[in-house]
Symmetry: C2
Subunit: 117 residues, 2 copies
Amino acid sequence: MTERFERELMRGSLDLMVLSVLADGANYGYLIQKRVRDAGGDMIKLQAGTLYPLLHRLEADGVIKSKWDHSTGRKRKWYELTPAGRRRIRDQALQWDKYAACIQRILTPALAALPAK
Amino acid sequence: MTERFERELMRGSLDLMVLSVLADGANYGYLIQKRVRDAGGDMIKLQAGTLYPLLHRLEADGVIKSKWDHSTGRKRKWYELTPAGRRRIRDQALQWDKYAACIQRILTPALAALPAK
DNA sequence: AACAATATATCGTTGTACGATATATGTCAA
DNA sequence: TTGACATATATCGTACAACGATATATTGTT
């Protein structure tokens, strides 16, 4: 039940989280996954099977671009933000704040109306 | 694009919004929809085709219960919270706060890292 | 040699939100 | 009085994101 809730919560903000990690500088999938997981504590368990298609989608959207790195034995695909990506972070961050404020506006009086536990 | 983002954002928190409206007292679908839309400003366009299945799902979950009202010409199905519903609001409100804090924790430094527009 | 960690990728399943559509009653103006 | 609009609930097919499982290959550890 709680897992379902968390999973659905992630939808719509996961893109923004990944883009935010890239705002800190170029990075590759495996490390991005770790960064998001660390930031998420026990809330966000980002799966590889979620992340890689997500990165492909963002690239197809033109908000990130990639470059293969074969210099090490393990090949890595580095991603970085495009100008459109930076714009999207700013836009979606505003959207997110507006959305969160809206939830709070509904939630706060509701909790107040609930009988004290 | 932005519409897509908003749509996905709603997932996972829409149940909580509907339950929150019911925390204010029993209500029926059509008015619940209005309440959520009003609270959401231009962010949340809750569709009837979303709401009614959602209410059925919540009832099947045992967090709300319904009663038909035929006293007026237009029949209305009134919903109210069950004790499990009140518990769920409290639980998911905590989850939501945790989640929102986590997004902020990622978002704030990212925005700071972005070149000033 | 066996196993864990690193690293990317795809595939089928699940579940939610959407728009369209259906149905029916009440209200108000032309 | 007829037509339009708001009220009121419901279902259906579609789209799509996140999941878990699986595949593949390299590097580090025991």
